[in-house]
């Protein structure tokens, strides 16, 4: 091949290197003696013009940017320091070895951020017993949001299809909000206490809640995607107004006698439901927790009996449908969530009434912004990939609460919208952050580890 020969001809080897090549055509590599006398690295260019130096303008720019760079270095130092320690001393691997890998104990952190409530952090310890139950202790605290500790035992895959569980939880929520019942906009001016049962005016107020609850549950896979869920719980709930400093206490904003459930109540609840769930990734190339296709139909009904009023039924329906649009993956999801109670407003503790708002149902509004006997929300969400591990979505939620099933109407529905980012590994969802607003204004940032599409049994909900 001609060019090869020409290149070879132009190459001038140092004398010793040349002789080494001639004697050892199969190449044993050069030795120090072979290259002795050859130019040192950096001196091989043959240039005699002095090369190119940085222009004074570049030096000046560098000087100007020294301070921002130093600031950036300083800001990143804690992050990089943590990474260095983890990498250098294998901290995560040691953690996995001690808690996850091949052992029967796991420890995992928990973090949730919701606008208006702040940060809740905690941890979860799970012990796995071979051929036995899974025992989990779960606790967290978050200043003005939620302090809780829970314990659960699960016997999974009994007979390859049955899961049994027992849960216990103690939860304090020191600054929950109550806006009254109904779908009305919030008032600006404060006035005399309102009748919580009848007033059309929404008013932000604050109360404390403490819940102690035990529950038993069963989940049986009937066939393929079809499952039946049932369970029962018993709870003791305490409600009290907050201090004035946080905001208007519930008993100042509303007439106390109209606040059903104040100062506390006990209840027993039994529930039965069916769930058909074919959701999942479109193919094995997508992260396992990424839902881009399939459908979910979930319906339940339960009887709740409190010690302050007659028993009432609680019922709910969840419908979800995921439409894969294109490779990527890009998908459109449609979701409906409805929930209701049969008891009247003056029979059901206000904290037991269905609600909308927060990170899951009717995003763009603060948690439990709307309460009434019936709540319904529909969502359209378009999700697409940013990379293998990052996914974005834009969503719009419409929904409202109603005094009863007879009052269902599209009039006055609330509309929330926003954007969300999710981070996945191939096997797990790392987290999701969303920014949402609504036609009524406001901006809400939520960060959490659960997919918004999770349909958790009411018996299992921490909040």
């Amino acid at each position: 091949m001609r060019p090869i020969a020409v290149v070879a001809a132009t190459v001038v080897f140092a004398a010793r290197a040349r002789s080494a090549r001639a004697e050892e055509p199969t190449e044993d590599g050069l030795t120090a003696a072979d290259v002795a006398g050859a130019p040192r690295p950096g001196d091989e260019s043959g240039r005699v013009d002095g090369g190119t130096q940085d222009a004074s303008g570049r030096e000046a720019a560098r000087t100007l940017l020294w301070l921002p760079r130093a600031f950036w270095e300083l800001a990143m130092a804690p992050v990089r320091g943590t990474m260095y320690l983890n990498d250098r001393y294998d901290l995560l691997a040691r953690y996995e070895r001690n808690f996850l890998f091949g052992s029967y104990l796991s420890l995992s952190p928990f973090l949730r951020l919701e606008s208006g409530y702040g940060l809740t952090i905690g941890g979860q310890v799970t012990a796995y017993f071979q051929d036995g139950p899974e025992v989990r202790l779960f606790g967290g605290g978050g200043g003005n949001f939620q302090n809780f500790i829970s314990a659960s035992v699960r016997w999974r895959n009994l007979g390859d299809r049955l899961t049994l569980g027992v849960d216990g939880i103690y939860e304090q929520r020191p600054e929950d909000r109550f806006f009254g019942l109904g779908n009305d906009p919030e008032e600006i001016e404060r006035g005399a206490p309102l009748n919580a049962l009848t007033s059309p005016i929404a008013r932000e107020s604050f109360y404390r809640r403490r819940t102690e609850r035990v529950a038993v549950m069963a989940d049986m896979r009937v066939d393929g995607h079809l499952r039946v869920r049932g369970g029962a719980s018993f709870a003791d709930v305490m409600i009290a107004p907050t201090n004035e400093g946080i905001g208007p206490p519930i008993t100042v904003a509303f007439i106390p006698s109209t606040l059903i459930g104040l100062p506390g109540y006990r209840y027993g609840y039994g529930q039965l439901g069916v769930l058909w769930d074919s959701r999942g990734p479109t193919n094995g190339w997508q992260p396992a927790q990424l839902i881009t296709s399939g459908a979910l139909i979930s319906a339940y009904a339960g009887l709740q009996d409190t010690d302050i009023g007659p028993a009432f039924w609680r019922y709910g329906l969840d419908l979800q449908y995921f439409i894969p649009l294109a490779i990527g993956p890009r998908s459109l999801s449609l979701r409906f969530h409805g929930e209701g109670v049969t008891g009247d407003r003056d029979e059901v503790p206000f904290t037991e009434l269905p609600s909308l708002g927060g990170a899951t149902y009717l995003r763009g509004y603060i948690v439990e912004r709307f309460r009434d006997r019936v709540a319904a929300v529909a969502t359209a969400e378009y999700q697409w990939d940013l990379s293998r591990n990052f996914y974005a979505s834009v969503f719009g939620d419409v929904g409202r609460v109603y005094p009863g099933l007879d009052d269902l109407t599209l009039e006055g529905v609330r509309f929330g919208f926003g954007v969300a980012l999710e981070m996945h590994s191939h096997n797990a969802l790392y987290g999701r952050i969303s920014l949402a607003s609504s036609i009524d204004g406001g901006a809400f940032v939520n960060f959490y580890f659960d997919p918004v599409y999770a349909v958790q049994s009411r018996l299992e909900r921490i909040r």
Binding site: V7, A32, G42, G46, R47, R58, R88, F101, G328, S387
Partner: protein, 549 residues
């Protein structure tokens, strides 16, 4: 006022730094002396994966921008813009004859452990998806033994060895890697065998561990398993080389790595081979004894771990983005976010080959769009068109026969897989040539005989362009830059070799003349300066330097 600062910084940073190269009237350097004694073993570099990726993907990219670095042509090249032999790189294919047989042997010296069984297992990482064992063969030679991942038979082992041989032929230092086939009962546990768990804790390697391991390996119908044995390198390992700067404790390491042509110029060859798994941990520096002087030490630099090349990473990780996007690719992510994912991406059309042992290796790919797994390895990110040209020029020297010999040597069970890989290698090779040879005036191998200047137009030599539409114009200047004689224009030849003459040359004793050879094709016009002078000893004209526009 807020706008003035960035504008001022930008203007200051863009002030002219145009070089006026002149060369010494000597022959080009073919080898550098980076084998001075390093009496004390340099400190081992630990690969800190998360920090490395964080810095390379995010943090260092920002601080480096704030440092306003001057875009620089690669260093570590001689006057002809070639890389001299060193502890990093050895000119092989194209500089000396490399037969297909020699390519198949590659770096092999000690030889395949295949015929030296049984093998004793000394060490293993805890069972993950990738299985790696440290073994010694019956001769006592140490190897790292790897297997194909379950569900991907022949893929990683084939990629490993094919890429190993082609990188060796290209000029890099690589370990001795071999395809092996063994029966699992020929693997025996050494008395001191240990298994390393995550976090570095070691425990005894038991027969149960071995059984678990064997169960995760695809077994051939004849009861053997296929693996890849990589001989442990001679010397003391001191970790990988940093992608930026130098090793402070190695006095021979004098050129910042991000400026080394042999590292930046790896981009085209890695693109060719889809060697996406580039990070510091896939390089290794060895503090070695000199072959002739046992007390004389220096550092030799290696590339390692090619099992995820040739589309294997995309296939195994089930991610068709590999090779086309960084793992965290902020511009791509922002673009996708802003456009709601509506923009089609090149990787969406990729499909896994049904052929056994073949990954997502696309014969038709866009070299300019190729990306390694992460942007962290700075030399690849800084590779400019001249680095592409250098790398492409070397890899284009591989003939189809040589490529076939290398691919056939890994013994893939399906002949269609071999055919596909040979075809894909040739196709990608030509695409790289077609790309790199249009970014730079692709004239090479200049000689001057009397007053006749000859050169190869690589685009035409490799049949990637048309001679009929190609013309060359030569202008001569003296050392001071003053014109010498009239410009001369002539046509290209279909062979790609062109000679012009007599060309005007300076008349002084040294005869230092700069011959600017401009190539004109449709939509292309670039020039190369060829610096010639009389050899003071023989008074014959010779090429003393090349400067590509």
């Amino acid at each position: 006022m807020k706008l003035l600062v960035p504008i001022a910084v930008g203007l200051l940073a863009c002030t002219s730094e145009r070089p006026v190269p002149r060369f010494a009237n000597t022959g080009p350097v073919a080898v550098v002396d980076d084998r001075h004694d390093v009496p004390h073993k340099p400190e081992k570099r630990y690969y800190l994966s998360d920090l490395y990726q964080f810095d390379g993907t995010f943090h260092r990219r920002i601080t480096r921008t704030l440092e306003v670095p001057r875009p620089q042509r690669a260093h570590g090249v001689n006057a002809l813009d070639e890389v001299p032999d060193s502890t990093w790189f050895t000119n092989r294919i194209g500089v000396r004859a490399v037969s297909p047989e020699e390519l198949v042997v590659g770096p092999g010296r000690v030889g395949n452990p295949q015929d030296h069984r049984p093998w004793r297992i000394h060490k293993s990482k805890a069972m993950g998806e990738a299985i790696g064992l440290q073994v010694t063969d019956a001769r006592g030679e140490k190897y790292l033994l790897k297997f194909d991942r379950h569900g991907f038979p022949e893929m990683e082992t084939s990629a490993h060895v094919i890429v190993n041989r082609l990188l060796w032929g290209f000029g890099y230092n690589v370990p001795e890697d071999y395809i092996v086939r063994i029966r699992t009962d020929e693997l025996v546990l050494a008395e001191d065998a240990v298994i390393t768990e995550p976090g570095g804790k070691e425990r005894r390697f038991t027969l149960e561990d071995l059984a678990t391991l064997v169960a995760n390996i695809d077994t051939e119908p004849d009861g053997t398993v296929r693996g890849m044995a990589s001989r442990m390198l001679d010397g003391a390992p001191i970790g990988g080389h940093p992608g930026e700067g130098v090793r402070d404790d190695d006095p021979n390491d004098r050129i910042p790595h991000e400026l080394r042509r042999d590292l930046r110029g790896a981009r085209p060859v890695f693109a060719w081979l889809d060697h996406v798994d580039i990070a510091e941990d896939n390089t290794l520096d060895e503090w070695i004894e000199d072959r002739d002087q046992p007390r004389h030490h220096y550092v030799q630099h290696y590339w390692l771990d090619f099992g995820r090349s040739l589309g294997a990473m995309a296939a195994i990780q089930r991610d068709p983005r590999r090779g086309l996007e960084y793992r965290v690719d902020f511009p791509e992510m922002i673009g996708s976010f802003m456009l709601l994912g509506l923009r089609p991406r090149a990787w969406e059309q990729r499909e896994q080959s049904p052929l056994r042992g073949v990954g997502m290796y696309d014969p038709n790919f866009d070299p300019a769009a190729w990306k390694p797994h992460t942007p962290s390895y700075l030399p690849l990110r800084l590779a400019d068109r001249l680095d592409w040209y250098w790398g492409a020029k070397i890899l284009m020297r591989y003939t189809p026969d040589q490529l076939r010999a290398v691919v056939e040597s890994v013994g893939m069970s399906d002949p269609r897989s071999t055919e596909f890989l040979v075809g894909a290698l040739v196709s990608r090779q030509r695409r790289i040539g077609g790309y790199a040879f249009t970014q730079v005036n692709p004239l090479d191998d200049f000689t001057i005989d009397g007053a006749h200047l000859c050169f190869d137009d690589l685009l035409l030599v490799y049949g990637l362009g048309r001679a009929a539409t190609t013309r060359y114009t030569i202008r001569a200047r003296d050392r001071a830059g003053h014109p010498v004689g009239p410009a001369r224009t002539f046509s290209a030849q279909p062979s790609g070799r062109a000679c012009a003459g007599p060309v005007p040359l300076a008349l002084d004793a040294e005869g230092y003349t700069i011959l600017e050879v401009a190539t004109t094709r449709p939509h292309f016009h670039r020039a190369t300066e060829v610096h010639v002078a009389r050899d003071p000893a023989t008074h014959a004209w010779r090429v003393i330097g090349i400067w590509r526009e």
